[in-house]
């Protein structure tokens, strides 16, 4: 299982990647949508975890662009608002189960990741 973490808060993604690595999950991290698209050119990932609110390109836009090339790439979203908060039109339709509210619990995250990969 190889994970891509995208969040403009470097402290969050870098630490999260380290924690996942401790649990045997390989995770790469970047801090913007552009970097994410770049790294996807060279590496293959099973799952992407995207922050919803990012400068320049938000999580939902990024997901659309990634899915244009990598259709089977699954996505989870991180939001600093409540999980029930529909931030953007269409976000709600993407399904609540794909959303995680910050701060997250690592166990919950791993469980969600497993669920997403099973689909």
């Amino acid at each position: 299982m190889k994970i891509l973490l995208v969040d403009d808060e470097k402290d969050i993604v870098s630490t999260l990647a380290e924690r996942l690595a401790l649990r045997g999950i390989e995770a790469a991290w970047v801090t913007s949508g552009e970097e994410a698209l770049q790294i996807l050119e060279t590496e293959k990932f099973d799952l992407a975890i995207l922050d919803v609110k990012m400068p320049v390109m938000n999580g939902l836009e990024l997901q659309k662009k990634m899915n244009e090339r990598h259709k089977d790439l699954k996505c989870l979203f991180l939001t600093s608002r409540g999980a029930e908060e529909a931030l953007e039109p269409g976000a709600y339709l993407a399904g609540k189960e794909n959303y995680l509210s910050k701060p997250i619990k690592i166990d919950v995250l791993i469980k969600k990741m497993e669920e997403a990969l099973k689909q």
Binding site: D11, I12, E18, L22, R23, E84, K102, P103, I104
Partner: protein
């Protein structure tokens, strides 16, 4: 009492607006007072003016009329009395011309003349022939007066010395001691001597003549002489030969009419005329009230109509003013409630946006703390080089726990900030209640309030506006917390009814609501806490919210024992055949 209640404007029952809670944007009492006064003035004013005008004009007319009438009567009766006396004088003058002294000095002949006079002219009692010395030479009549000497009698002196040949006396008693009056005519004899023919007149004739005038209750007609001595009987003004106690004006050409207050205190209208060539004055008098009787009767009728009219007009004006101002008040209250709700919503929206912003901004740093602390814990757990230290693990757990608490708070803040728009969604009642209580559990702990939540298992997730439901529940639980003492109880019980409605009962064992207030607690601006800043809007707003959600709120309460608020909401919005109606009074009805 009930009549006064009908007239009393119901809005007066409402408490006076004070500076802390302006209830209406205008002074209702002042508007009511101004309206009633103005309309009364323009409607009653002309009516009263007309009545006063009519009163004075008709009074003056009536007075003028009765004076004129009195004058005519006096003129008429005085003419009759004058004619009566002239007739007698003429008859006596004719006898003197037709008979010589010798003829008259014959008693038999004189008796025949008396008989003839009584038969033709009437009113003669006796006849006497008196010589120049005053001795009565001949007498025919019912008394024994022959030979009497009248030399010292006042009338005789006047005739003997007087310039006028004809003399009419006042009423006097004389030798016969009976009230009578005489007509005496002086006749010259050749050689400078003279004799007097004297006739005594019957006063009954006068009485009969004047009694014709006494047809009315208080009308009196009699003769007096120029000195004010009563000559013929009166009703109440004295007997014959008494002095009259009324003023006697000097002679004028025309009959005089004037008013005078008599000794009994009544105002008399007096008509008076001097009878020409006689010592008599005719007096006709009558109480003014009797003369004005017709006008007085009319006056009472007019006054009656006037006061009845004023009463009816005032009654109608007050009723109409009450009705209109009650409508204005009611509508103003509705408008103000809407404005207050808008203001409230806008305030809530601002607070919500602020809270959401704060929560959002705090969540990222919290996430960093969470991840860093999480990593530290992971390192202790997974890496041998970071030897497991129970104390450090404890500290990290504490940090993580605090982060979790903060996250809970921001989550709730975000959740509450969503109250703004109506968004119907499927809601889990238990979760909503937990959210609501999340804000209050600290207070519950401090005050040892025992909160129990019992949501029946068959209560399904249902469609409603989560934000509005939260607002309703927060308000009701807040009220309950305010009502209960420390260590009190608050029970929230939710049940499903007929698969159609969900009822949420919020029961407390607090102070309860007095029966007189219970009907009005959902009315806008009704508050018992105005002094401590209550606006009287909380329950009114959530009542409106419940209606918006297709439900209702009811209350039962026993003063001193506690209250139960029951919120009923449909499981599917719009499914109820009949939407609940607004049962608030919107009225200023009497407090029970």
């Amino acid at each position: 009492m009930s009549f006064w209640k009908k007239l009393k404007p119901t809005f007066l029952n409402y408490p006076v607006a004070d500076k802390n809670s302006a209830k209406l944007p205008f002074d209702v009492r002042r508007i009511w007072f101004f309206t009633v006064c103005l309309i009364s003035l323009v409607s009653i004013g002309p009516l009263v003016s007309l009545a006063v005008f009519d009163y004075t004009v008709t009074k003056a007319d009536t007075e003028k009329e009765i004076r004129l009438h009195m004058q005519r009567q006096v003129d008429h009766i005085a003419g009759t009395v004058s004619f009566f006396l002239e007739e007698k004088k003429t008859a006596l003058a004719y006898i003197l011309n037709a008979n010589s002294f010798a003829d008259l000095n014959n008693k038999v002949h004189l008796a025949e003349i008396l008989k003839s006079l009584q038969h033709s002219a009437g009113g003669f009692i006796d006849l006497g022939l008196i010589d120049s010395s005053g001795k009565q030479l001949q007498y025919v009549g019912p008394y024994d007066l022959e030979g009497k000497n009248y030399r010292n009698k006042k009338w005789c002196k006047q005739v003997r010395e007087g310039k006028d040949k004809v003399f009419i006396s006042d009423i006097f008693l004389g030798y016969r001691n009976v009230p009578h009056h005489i007509i005496a005519i002086k006749q010259d004899l050749p050689g400078g001597s003279f004799f007097i023919l004297r006739a005594t007149m019957d006063t009954e004739k006068f009485k009969r003549l004047l009694s014709l005038m006494k047809m009315h209750k208080t009308r009196d007609a009699f003769l007096i002489n120029h000195q004010g001595i009563i000559q013929t009987p009166t009703l109440i003004h004295g007997v014959a030969l008494d002095q009259i106690h009324l003023s006697i004006p000097a002679d004028k050409e025309e009959p005089q009419v004037f008013e005078e207050v008599c000794e009994h205190g009544d105002t008399l209208v007096i008509g008076l005329d001097y009878i020409p060539n006689s010592p008599y004055i005719l007096m006709i008098l009558q109480e003014k009230d009797e003369l004005m009787e017709v006008w007085l009767k009319t006056r009472w009728i007019i006054l009656g109509i006037l006061f009845a009219g004023i009463f009816v007009i005032l009654f109608v004006i007050i009723h109409v003013a009450n009705y209109l101002i009650n409508i204005i008040c009611k509508e103003s209250q509705k408008t103000m409630l809407v404005l207050s709700e808008v203001e409230h919503s806008s305030k809530m929206a601002s607070i919500g946006r602020l809270a959401a912003g704060v929560a959002h901004e705090i969540n990222n740093p919290l996430a960093i703390i969470n991840e860093k602390a999480g990593l530290m814990k992971d390192l202790f757990t997974y890496k041998d080089e970071y030897a497991e230290d129970p104390k450090l693990m404890g500290l990290i757990d504490s940090v993580l726990h605090s982060v979790e608490r903060c996250a809970g708070i921001t989550k709730r803040l975000l959740s509450f900030s969503r109250n703004l728009d109506v968004t119907i969604q499927t809601v889990n009642l238990h979760a909503v209640i937990d959210d609501v209580l999340g804000f209050l559990h600290k207070e519950a702990e401090y005050r040892s309030i025992n909160v129990t939540v019992d949501v029946a298992e068959d209560v399904p997730n249902f469609e409603t506006d989560r934000g509005k439901l939260q607002q309703i529940l927060v308000n009701l639980t807040n009220n309950a917390f305010a009502a209960v003492e420390d260590e009190g109880h608050l029970d929230i019980i939710a049940r499903c009814q007929n698969n159609k409605d969900i009822t949420i009962k919020i029961t407390d064992d607090g102070c309860g609501i007095p029966p007189k207030n219970i009907k009005r607690i959902f009315d806008p601006f009704f508050s018992t806490k105005t002094e401590s800043g209550g606006t009287g809007l909380g329950l009114s707003i959530i009542y409106g919210l419940a209606l918006e959600l297709g439900g209702k709120i009811e209350v039962e309460s026993t003063e001193g024992k506690g209250s139960t608020f029951t919120v009923t909401l449909p499981i599917k919005k719009g499914e109820n055949e009949k939407p609940p109606t607004d049962e608030r009074s919107w009225d200023y009805s009497d407090p029970v």
